[in-house]
């Protein structure tokens, strides 16, 4: 069953066509990868789904209900949560408070204020940030901030988690850690994940299906192996048709 269903979505910024008639189905329980060169329109797609930006045309169904036109806070309470590629922590608040706010506001049935701290701590433990819980979020390293983006998104108890380059700028060891954490929370929370990643090995490792965007157009979709063998993708990425290396 598809949890998220996008139909003919377009977005233009003035003369620039950032997304052109994109259609996409994200299956419940799957990890769906999004790839594409810089400026392909990946982040724009996230922003529109999350309600941060309006589409120029097209429709979005989530769990069978239309969500286009809803405010971001409403989309969030419906069960969609995104992270920001350029991280946006509540820098002056503690790491735990960042997650508490997501817990108190992002859920359809929020817990009591007195319970939020303990729930936040659990999520921070899951994502490997528990030691920094009392630190101001602004004092975290890049890797910490990326983790906080994920922890805060998890706080809202999403059905669909949208991750925008949460591994960019991390060391290989940190990338491995992140993949392990993501796999764990996906299982324990029963998540569906839509993930943008430039780290190819991470993307092919995690994804069941990959969609490729190029200049706002959807040029391919398939399993990681199919995408690696796809001539159009080679063309778009390297200008030559040569198979990509895929780690099995």
């Amino acid at each position: 069953m598809s949890l998220l269903s996008i139909k003919s979505l377009s977005k233009n910024f003035g003369g620039l066509q950032a997304l052109n008639e994109i259609s996409l189905e994200v299956q419940e329980g799957s990890v769906h990868g999004l790839m594409g060169a810089n400026g392909a329109g990946k982040t724009t797609l996230f922003s529109i789904i999350a309600g941060n930006q309006r589409a120029s045309s097209g429709s979005i169904l989530f769990a069978g209900h239309p969500i286009d036109g809803l405010r971001p806070d409403q989309v969030c309470r419906r069960g969609i949560s995104r992270t920001f590629q350029i991280v946006r922590p509540f820098a002056g608040l503690s790491v735990r408070e960042n997650v508490e706010i997501a817990i108190l506001y992002g859920r359809e049935a929020p817990p009591k204020v007195s319970e939020a701290a303990a729930l936040a701590q659990e999520i921070l433990t899951d994502i490997g940030l528990d030691a920094s819980a009392d630190q101001p979020a602004g004092s975290l390293t890049l890797s910490g901030r990326k983790r906080l983006e994920v922890a805060r998104a998890l706080g809202t108890e999403p059905r669909l988690l949208m991750l925008d380059e949460v591994m960019a700028g991390l060391t290989p060891v940190e990338v491995t850690d992140m993949i392990v954490s993501l796999r764990r929370v996906k299982e324990s929370h029963g998540l569906t994940i839509l993930i943008i990643e430039h780290v190819m090995s991470a993307l092919t490792d995690m994804s069941d299906t990959i969609t490729v965007l190029h200049h706002g157009e959807k040029i391919a979709q398939g399993t990681p192996q199919q995408i690696a063998d796809n001539a159009a993708v080679q063309e778009a990425y390297f200008g030559v048709a040569e198979p990509l290396e895929v780690s099995a």
């Binding site: 969030c76 920001f84 509540f90 408070e97 706010i101 506001y105 701290a117 303990a118 701590q121």
Partner: protein, 313 residues
């Protein structure tokens, strides 16, 4: 998970606030009429700054127009004096201020930063001149108010409002609402993306922060025996509120109290002997705090506590 939650019991804070207020009220009345007036002013500024901090301290939207609430309350009470009893007109003054804030909130809260500061200031001036025009057109450039309550009576009421405003700031800071406002202050886009209904929270806080100032305005206009638009809509009132909040520190219920105590203390020391020096020092302190201690006196105290507890920040 030893210090996971900061949910200490609120009883000591409530007790301290009540006992402090009762002590100051009784002591000042005991010491005579001069000190009664000083205490009245102190509680007035605490009530005003505390209410301001409920919105501006929590959200980071610096309002330079809070005198409007004060003025509207004063205007309602003065125009209905001897027609409506005070126990009714004063809450109505607060309500009118709150409703006015609610109406202007949506357009005003669309802008942030310096634009918001200037807009609120401009709006306050606009309301002042509209009322001034109305009053002079009807030949009422000032109204005499005979038979107002005694200073002691006003002191009880204003002190009660200061206590209520302090407790509201204190409890909101610990509540879900307060955490939502903090998220708004930090990053509105991130806040709404994790589910915070940003606009609703801002509008509610803005309207709520006008109610007590409206009531304070109503009570304080009873202090002077006449009502004058230019006096109750004086922008200096807004400036003083912001100054006290900056010096004391907003975003913590103790900040406005410290700020009001500090400014009134300075005024007591210098106002009658060297008023120029008072303003020079006030300006210097303001600059000093903005540059070196943006979280005010309360921020300095917290920092000291933290470092003496040996916790790296």
């Amino acid at each position: 998970m030893t210090k996971a939650s900061m949910t200490h019991t609120p009883i000591p804070a409530i007790a301290a606030t009540l006992i402090g207020a009762i002590l100051i009220v009784s002591l000042s009345i005991f010491m005579g009429s001069y000190w009664t007036v000083v205490a009245l002013n102190l509680f007035m500024w605490i009530a005003l700054t505390q209410s301001w901090s409920l919105f501006s301290g929590m959200t980071g939207y610096i309002s330079l127009g809070h005198v409007v609430a004060y003025g509207i309350g004063a205007y309602l009470v003065a125009t209905t004096f001897k027609i409506i009893p005070l126990w009714l007109s004063i809450p109505l003054g607060g309500l009118a201020a709150g409703v006015f804030a609610l109406i202007v909130a949506i357009p005003v809260l669309r802008v942030r930063g310096p634009y918001f500061v200037i807009l609120t200031f401009g709006l306050a001036e606009l309301v002042k001149f509209i009322l001034l025009y109305t009053e002079t057109t009807f030949g009422k450039s000032s109204r005499l108010l005979f038979g107002a309550p005694k200073t002691e009576t006003l002191l009880y009421w204003v002190a009660a409002l200061a206590v209520v405003a302090t407790l509201i700031t204190y409890f909101v800071g610990r509540s879900r609402f307060g955490k939502g406002l903090a998220a708004v202050r930090e990053d509105e886009t991130a806040a709404e993306t994790v589910g915070v209904p940003v606009t609703r929270l801002k509008v509610l806080a803005f309207a709520a922060s006008a109610v007590i100032p409206g009531m304070v305005g109503g009570l304080m206009t009873m202090r002077s025996t006449y009502f004058d638009v230019l006096q109750v809509f004086n922008p200096t009132i807004s400036f003083s509120i912001v100054t006290m909040a900056i010096i004391g520190g907003a975003g913590d219920a103790r900040g406005p109290i410290l700020g009001a105590l500090f400014m009134l203390g300075l005024a007591e020391l210098l106002w009658s002997t060297a008023p120029q020096l008072y303003f020079i020092l006030l300006g210097l302190f303001l600059i000093g705090f903005v540059l070196f201690a943006p979280n005010g006196m309360i921020g300095l105290i917290k920092r000291r506590k933290r470092s003496s507890a040996g916790v790296a920040s």
